[in-house]
């Protein structure tokens, strides 16, 4: 039937059209309708491609970073004027002596004459403001370096980094860019001598929040997210599975279970920001748990993922055929034994798939975390889930509102990291489903 329709040749259509003059019009409308469908599908997929390409094209450069290698002469006269070379003496005392050390290094490497103060300041502009503290840290860790010379890799500022990568262009008017012509001369000089080079940006994965893009990273945020995922996993999996077992296997059909059922379906569609407000009112305002703690974030995300876990667990339990239960009961097992020894193990792949998908959703959730103060400037790694922490999506949110070019690049890179995690989790779920899916 359908075959004849779709295999109509033009000649056949012509013959038929003698009988029904409307046929041409109807075929045209058929083709139009089909084209709408193709257009809609193409639009959707195009949006996906556009989204990914816009983020990747902005972000891939952030995985490399401009570094400048200079030969540092750890002059004892500058760093240890009193002759005390212990780590405490280095960390104590005047901080300016390390600025002096760094200035001397820059002066010597770039061959700036000691009288040219402006030239020195221009050159210092190229380096991250964290350079002299970095030298101090280095010496404190290894005081034996004093009196020696060593090649040290310094971070260039975010603006220099953007210029080297070409996202701040030299052909726009000088007044409109942060990198001036005098800086460009110095950059070219450093590049020609081989001191300035691009290296893999390991800091992106290890550093925490910073106002200086060159030393900002998602490491601290990732640990916060990890803590939250652990809390979510350890709470929502047992709670969700236990709740679904009751509803699916034991609950009598009455008003109460009906209410729970409607309730769970509704909770799955409640805006996530509402859960954040619940967390703020209950966990922080009422229970006095600390703000910005990953424990509270985990608790809130547990509530948001619980409906997903329950719905998928119930589907997995429902898919186990009744004959399994009958067999268990038939050989004398109690209802509880049947469920825990026979039904639940068969439903495990489905439950795990649903849980992983729920976790992936929780990992990308931002709005509820803003409510409980996870939008925080956190520099240090949180040691426990009660310490102030931030999460990958809130870090992305904070960076997204920074105007600097180097932060836009890092935001895109952080998004790529987040999407990579999500992709890995979802692939896990798909693999699990493929490997263990059973047809009864």
């Amino acid at each position: 039937m359908t075959a004849t329709l779709s295999h109509n040749t033009p000649e056949q259509a012509l013959i038929v059209s003698h009988i029904d003059l409307g046929l041409q019009r109807r075929y045209r409308s058929e083709r139009r309708f089909r084209a709408y469908g193709i257009a809609a599908l193409t639009f959707g997929i195009l949006c996906l491609v556009l989204l990914f390409s816009s983020i990747i094209s902005r972000g891939y450069t952030a995985f490399e970073q401009t570094r400048i290698t200079l030969k540092v002469d750890f002059d004892p006269a500058i760093v240890a004027p009193d002759g005390n070379r212990s780590a405490e003496a280095i960390m104590g005392g005047d901080a300016f002596r390390f600025d002096d050390l760094f200035s001397a290094t820059v002066q010597k490497s770039l061959e700036i004459s000691p009288d040219d103060e402006d030239g020195l300041y221009d050159a210092l502009d190229l380096f991250s403001k964290g350079s002299s503290p970095m030298l101090r840290q280095m010496l404190a860790q290894d005081p034996a370096l004093i009196g020696t010379t060593k090649d040290v890799e310094f971070y260039a500022t975010g603006d220099v980094d953007s210029f080297v990568k070409g996202s701040i262009r030299a052909d726009i008017p000088e007044s409109q860019r942060n990198i001036k012509d005098k800086h460009i001369v110095l950059i070219t000089k450093l590049k020609d001598s081989g001191a300035l080079h691009l290296a893999f940006n390991t800091g992106l994965f290890t550093f925490g929040a910073s106002t200086r893009p060159e030393v900002a990273g998602v490491g601290v945020a990732a640990i916060g997210s990890l803590y939250m995922m652990l809390v979510v996993l350890s709470l929502s999996l047992p709670l969700g599975v236990a709740g679904s077992i009751y509803l699916e296997e034991f609950a009598p059909k009455n008003r109460w279970t009906d209410l729970i059922e409607v309730n769970i379906n509704n909770l799955a569609a409640v805006p996530s920001i509402v859960y954040g407000m619940l967390g703020l009112a209950v966990f922080i305002n009422f229970a006095h748990l600390p703000r910005s703690a990953s424990l509270v974030g985990g608790l809130v995300l547990t509530l948001t993922t619980l409906p997903t876990v329950i719905i998928s667990t119930r589907a997995a339990l429902k898919a186990v055929p009744p004959s399994i239960r009958d067999a268990g009961l038939g050989i004398g097992a109690s209802k509880m034994q049947t469920v825990f020894h026979h039904v639940l193990p068969l439903a495990v792949p489905g439950i795990l798939t649903g849980t992983i998908i729920g976790l992936a959703h929780a990992l990308g959730e931002t709005a509820p975390l803003l409510m409980i103060g996870m939008k925080a400037f956190v520099v240090d790694y949180p040691a426990t889930p009660l310490d102030p922490a931030t999460s990958l999506p809130t870090q992305i949110y904070m960076w997204a509102t920074e105007p600097e070019r180097a932060f836009i690049e890092r935001t895109s890179a952080a998004i790529m990291v987040l999407l990579a995690f999500l992709l890995a989790m979802n692939s896990c779920a798909v693999l699990l489903r493929r490997m263990f899916e059973r047809r009864w």
């Binding site: 039937m1 075929y27 409308s29 058929e30 139009r32 309708f33 089909r34 469908g37 809609a40 599908l41 959707g44 949006c47 556009l50 989204l51 816009s54 983020i55 047992p238 969700g240 709740g243 009751y246 509803l247 034991f250 729970i260 409607v262 309730n263 769970i264 509704n266 909770l267 569609a269 409640v270 805006p271 996530s272 920001i273 509402v274 859960y275 954040g276 407000m277 619940l278 703020l280 009112a281 305002n285 009422f286 509530l303 329950i310 209802k335 509880m336 959703h361 990308g364 959730e365 931002t366 709005a367 803003l370 409510m371 999506p393 992305i396 949110y397 997204a400 935001t411 998004i415 999500l422």
Partner: protein, 485 residues
């Protein structure tokens, strides 16, 4: 001992209980005087359950009660003028708390110096890394000392009580093990209760949402009348300087308009694209196209909304501003209704398409064959037979997508702007309910000022609106679903 140590103790004793319970039942069975009523593991679990559950309940009750007793102790030391000042009472108690924390760090010598007044407590605390806002009053010091003492006592009491309860229950359960004890039934009953408790967490969440928001919202409405809130056309919640009575205007209508306007554009994108994709995939596409296109579209639903927000902020917004809004003189902002609506629409495509796809696929083949057999084209079949049959489900899917659009936060926070406008021009900045909730609840919070509390009034309005849409959607799907069997 902290609560974690207590929990570890309970866990350890319970596992020990499991072991000896099991051992005793095996020993009894070996005597063989009477057949055992349950398996050894059940006797073990019986002791485990009896050891752990009462102890955990006692621990939870004591942990809940402790702050109240401590609070009471602090109040006893506060002078009357501080107690009378209702608004600053919580601040005064928090100050005592700070002093108490500081006292924990000082050495006995320093303590002596503080008591006789040789040094100020503030400077000693600062040396130990506990900064205080002001000097320590004598009454604060006294209250803090008694607070620390009471806390220590309470902690000891908790430790002793919980340990005792655990041990007693362990012994009690162990003695009860006899061949005739129906351990399995007892254990299974406990498990069933735990399962019921787990399933009611969902209900508790809903109750928690409603109660927590309702109380704060009522508090807000005691300061700003509901009529002013729901019918006001100006949103201007000035963060008033401390002490001034000015509170600003909290008109809800501009936010509602912004929310609906943006959601309208989102639906304008999502419904046609989602619906036509669903129709194409279920009626026209070969199974190969379908197996590629369906997962691809569903990726859109898995992308976090913050990513969409960033996409709108950096790509779509500037593009619309530079190529549409500015050349036609419609607006100058990259943050506008069209951007937010368009990107939100993209996010909602899979919600509409996959639900509709399932519903369209569920329409039985016989209906299609009947229509095609009468000479209708495929599109006529879809339009006149399949869609009417699937309509309730599709309407449900669209309503669910609409409720997502209203509650969506990150896209509008980044792309819609913060200015509360009521305008018909979609190229202007507008703001939504969710944006304002985020604005009012990030930063410093003061749960006595209408500026913070208004967020809860907005929240409960949002909750009720989305709840109504969801219930409506579910009812339509349930009530009008065609039963084909």
């Amino acid at each position: 001992m902290g609560p974690l140590w207590l929990l570890a103790l309970i866990a350890g004793l319970s596992l020990f209980g499991f072991a000896i319970g099991r051992w005793k039942s095996v020993a009894l069975a070996r005597e063989g005087r009477q057949p055992m009523a349950a398996r050894p593991a059940h006797y073990g679990s019986f002791v485990l359950v009896w050891t752990a559950i009462p102890a955990v309940i006692v621990l939870i009750l004591l942990s809940i009660g402790r702050p109240y007793i401590a609070d009471h102790a602090v109040r006893a030391h506060l002078p009357d003028n501080v107690l009378a000042d209702e608004t600053n009472l919580s601040l005064a108690i928090a100050n005592v708390e700070q002093v108490a924390n500081g006292l924990k760090t000082v050495t006995p010598d320093e303590m002596q110096n503080i008591k006789i007044g040789v040094v100020t407590a503030r400077s000693v605390f600062a040396k130990h890394g506990v900064p205080l806002a002001g000097d320590v009053e004598p009454y604060q010091l006294a209250a803090a000392i008694s607070l620390n003492a009471i806390r220590a006592t309470l902690s000891d009491i908790t430790d002793v009580t919980v340990s005792l309860v655990t041990a007693l229950c362990l012994v009690f359960a162990f003695i009860r093990i006899k061949p005739r004890l129906r351990a399995r039934t007892a254990v299974e009953r406990v498990i069933l209760v735990l399962l019921i408790l787990a399933s009611s967490v969902a209900v508790l969440t809903t109750i928690g949402i409603v109660l927590s928001m309702l109380f704060q919202a009522l508090h807000f409405f005691s300061m700003v009348s509901p009529a002013n809130f729901f019918l006001g056309t100006v949103w201007d919640p000035r963060f008033a300087a401390a002490g001034s009575q000015e509170s600003g205007q909290f008109g809800f209508l501009p936010l509602a308009w912004g929310t609906l306007f943006i959601s309208f554009f989102a639906m304008l994108v999502a419904v046609p694209v989602g619906l036509f994709s669903a129709i194409y995939m279920s009626e026209y596409a070969s199974s190969r196209v379908r197996s590629v296109a369906k997962p691809l579209l569903e990726i859109l639903a898995g992308i976090p909304t913050i990513v969409y927000g960033f996409f709108a902020l950096t790509t779509v917004g500037p593009a619309i501003r530079d190529y549409v809004a500015v050349p036609f003189g419609l607006g100058t902002s990259g943050n506008n209704v069209i951007t937010a609506g368009l990107v939100m629409g993209i996010m909602l495509i899979p919600y509409v398409s996959s639900l509709s796809d399932d519903i369209i696929t569920a329409v039985p083949r016989a209906l299609r064959d009947g229509s095609l057999g009468l000479g209708a084209t495929r599109s006529e079949t879809v339009k006149q037979v399949v869609l009417p049959a699937a309509l309730p489900g599709i309407v449900g899917a669209i309503l669910l997508a609409a409720s997502r659009a209203i509650g969506e936060t990150m896209i509008v926070v980044l792309a819609a702007g913060v200015a509360a406008n009521m305008s018909l021009n979609p190229f202007t900045e507008m703001t939504t309910i969710t944006v304002k909730i985020v604005n009012q609840l990030t930063g410093d919070l003061e749960f006595t000022s209408p500026q913070t509390l208004v967020a809860f009034a907005l929240g409960i309005t949002l909750f009720v609106a989305t709840l109504a849409l969801n219930v409506l959607a579910l009812t339509i799907v349930r009530k009008y679903r065609e039963q084909y069997e």
